[in-house]
Symmetry: C2
Subunit: 335 residues, 2 copies
Amino acid sequence: MNVAIVGASGAVGQEFIRVLEEQNFPVDQLTLFGSKRSAGRVYKFRGQDHVVKELKHGDDFKDIDIAFTSAGASVSKEFAETITKHGALMIDNSSAFRMDDDVPLVVPEVNGEDAFNTPRRIIANPNCTTIQMVVALKPINDISPIRRVHVATYQAASGAGAAAMDELVAQYGQLQRGEEPTVEKFAYQLAYNVIPHVDVFMDNGYTKEEMKMYNETKKIMHAPGLDVSATCVRVPVMRAHSEAVWVQTEAPVSVEQAREAFASAEGLVVLDSPADKVYPMPLDIADKDPVFVGRLRKDITDPCGLSFWVVGDQIKKGAALNAVQIAQYILEHKR
Amino acid sequence: MNVAIVGASGAVGQEFIRVLEEQNFPVDQLTLFGSKRSAGRVYKFRGQDHVVKELKHGDDFKDIDIAFTSAGASVSKEFAETITKHGALMIDNSSAFRMDDDVPLVVPEVNGEDAFNTPRRIIANPNCTTIQMVVALKPINDISPIRRVHVATYQAASGAGAAAMDELVAQYGQLQRGEEPTVEKFAYQLAYNVIPHVDVFMDNGYTKEEMKMYNETKKIMHAPGLDVSATCVRVPVMRAHSEAVWVQTEAPVSVEQAREAFASAEGLVVLDSPADKVYPMPLDIADKDPVFVGRLRKDITDPCGLSFWVVGDQIKKGAALNAVQIAQYILEHKR
């Protein structure tokens, strides 16, 4: 396969390079694209130097089979035609096309089959917070349909990109030296703080990030009646998002049933032995492939309720890895 | 009033000294008590030096009117008789007596009247996470009874004491110098991490901290049918806890009704103008007296649901200030 990465210099772009290597993805040729500013930068893939080319309109995608794009929604919208016009499949990490009816939104463990329905040659990669949550919702939903989800997130700096991660580290140094911390990438100082504000606010009082969890979950799970109320919060963690989740199912699901379903679910690892202080934490889960679940227990307010804690690496399963897994799913299940 | 502080050297003990000054509490004489280890330490109150006396069994509380105790549950249990036997009122910040039927559990804005029902001369100060939540639940519950609460907490290091706060700061320095961070006060490294584990685990999979929110909320609000499912999480913040809350009421409560009720509620400040990036954050709220609420919106999964975000200083309203306010309530409403 001839593979392209668009937005190669970003946090997710860099992760694409690593994931393609780690997953031993069948890459014949890798082409890196970036903005004018990052054009000319050199990155290694399988020991070989690859120079970032400037993303331009033209025929640069003529021989590309799959393009992984992660350069923001506006770039994806502007270049979708350029990327796909010769037949390349665009697997897009931005929010540009996620809710379009003719673009599937795919998490392979949940709705891999949808990846074959691509009239526009575009597949959307869901939002990071949604990806890790639906991997955990799926096995429960298979036992009894989920009606309602409440979720509070603990989102890492990585969700705002590499520069945001640097800013967080810098803030601790600045505070230690008695300097005023630099605040550019987040609305406020993130060091020693939590910020209940990820993405922009909508008219209904929710943020766009929170409404992504509402809308994308319905689409991925083919469950228009499954409602999600999210509170998304940025926390001073480098990478890996955590989520406190409550689900209400149609019929009661026992903790034992849920634990068994989690344990046999694809892409999910159960870390749940509270007596031994075993539960997932972002510091441990950073850079790991699967989604981790723990703190499983009954929702004591609701006989049809369960509560659990989900942690996943935002840049891996929450972005680059899920996109590569979509491509792998297509190759393995080719029809 | 002759006032005693037991556990004077701790984070909450120190805050008691400050709060008594700030609140201009009518102190005629202040006596500080502590462990053998902290006996002899000197702290200033209203410009005067006060030496910490060792807490012992005997008659040291003979002339004390009010004793604020914050030296852990076992000390409170061991010394309750010594403290109260001559008639002193013990306002206890530990969990020792909170669920005892003959000990009221009081948040003045919610159930101040209960402070007069003290057959044992003991009043319990609720857990920090519960205090700030019930201040926000009360005005909603007055409109329509709350049936169900889901709450995810973002708890500061201060909840584990002054040494825990020092450990968190030290960890950032150690990490910056490439050293292994010291981990003593929390189960794991808290810097750049979140830990879904506050207090010990119970058989039902909840932690004791989470079950405090369940049990104490029922008692304070006189609402045995009000159920709370909490996920309590330690975050790398110095002081002030944050909580993502969802409530389900018997009848629908509109956002406008809730906002009005919050705005006129005692002890509560509404900071809720998302378009202007106005919402409460722990970094801003540290050291402030009231409880702050923001991010108010409908729970989009439930016509009878509301969601909001509550932040309060754990050491102030969550501990010392609430205890002093209990004493103030008694003095002001003396019968």
